[in-house]
Symmetry: C2
Subunit: 150 residues, 2 copies
């Protein structure tokens, strides 16, 4: 026990992420694994940090694709240093700040706004589809970009 590398089961147990999800993440290029002679995955302990980063970022509402982009900024040749991670976390911090700002605005405006009828108007500060808090969400999305005013 306490070896240099982890099996997928061990990584799953330690990260709290299902093994099937870990394989999925690998397909997307979010994490990487060595293989044993018998083709089984062996994870470097550093992968734990990646998995944790993925889950935390998801909780903030970032898509896996965006998370991948962020992770791709880490050096691939060497194991990322604390400084490498710190740079990533700084970028995320800005994201969080913005999100917190928007939520605060939403909270402060909601009471006053919702009763007065301004919610019916597109001009309402709360109702600006542009500065979406929650990315875009899932689903088939097209239906021609809404005209500036219709």
């Amino acid at each position: 026990m306490h070896e240099a590398t982890l099996t997928i089961g061990q990584l799953s147990a330690r990260s709290g992420v299902a093994a099937s999800a870990l394989r999925y993440y690998e397909r997307l290029g979010l994490i990487r694994a060595e293989r044993t002679g018998g083709n089984q995955r062996r994870y470097a302990r550093a992968e734990l940090r990646r998995v944790a980063f993925v889950r935390i970022s998801q909780q903030v509402g970032v898509s896996l694709e965006e998370i991948k982009e962020a992770l791709d900024s880490l050096p691939s040749s060497r194991t990322p240093t604390p400084d490498d991670w710190a740079a990533l976390s700084r970028a995320w911090r800005d994201r969080l700040d913005e999100k917190i700002r928007l939520l605060g605005k939403l909270r402060d405006d909601l009471d006053g706004c919702i009763g007065c009828g301004c919610l019916s108007l597109q001009r309402c500060t709360l109702y600006n589809p542009g500065d979406s808090l929650a990315a875009e969400g899932p689903g088939a999305r097209l239906m021609l970009p809404r005209p500036p005013d219709a």
Copy 2:
């Protein structure tokens, strides 16, 4: 123009929500419409408020099902008063406060946490699958509830 009721196209234009989405919301019971003799939808202006509430709530990361539950607390017999809406918004406000609190915690912990390695541990304050910020997310979800410790 400026009639008592709105067609689906008008509601779509005013709310910024696609007509197909409005029909979908109706199926889910989030909004309601009268019908003309020729079976076309006619929306009371009060529905605009409902649509706005739905979209704003979605931006905060609430699922349509939860939004429906909230809307169901509005009186169905009469048109909701500002007070009715205010009650709803108070409940949402608590939600927002909690979300803001969690995001703030995340932001404050991230820098220190991510470089040090504690992210690898389940005990990390950041890495508590319990107080999920983003509900549960989409997808097929089962795979037996994770055992208390594995």
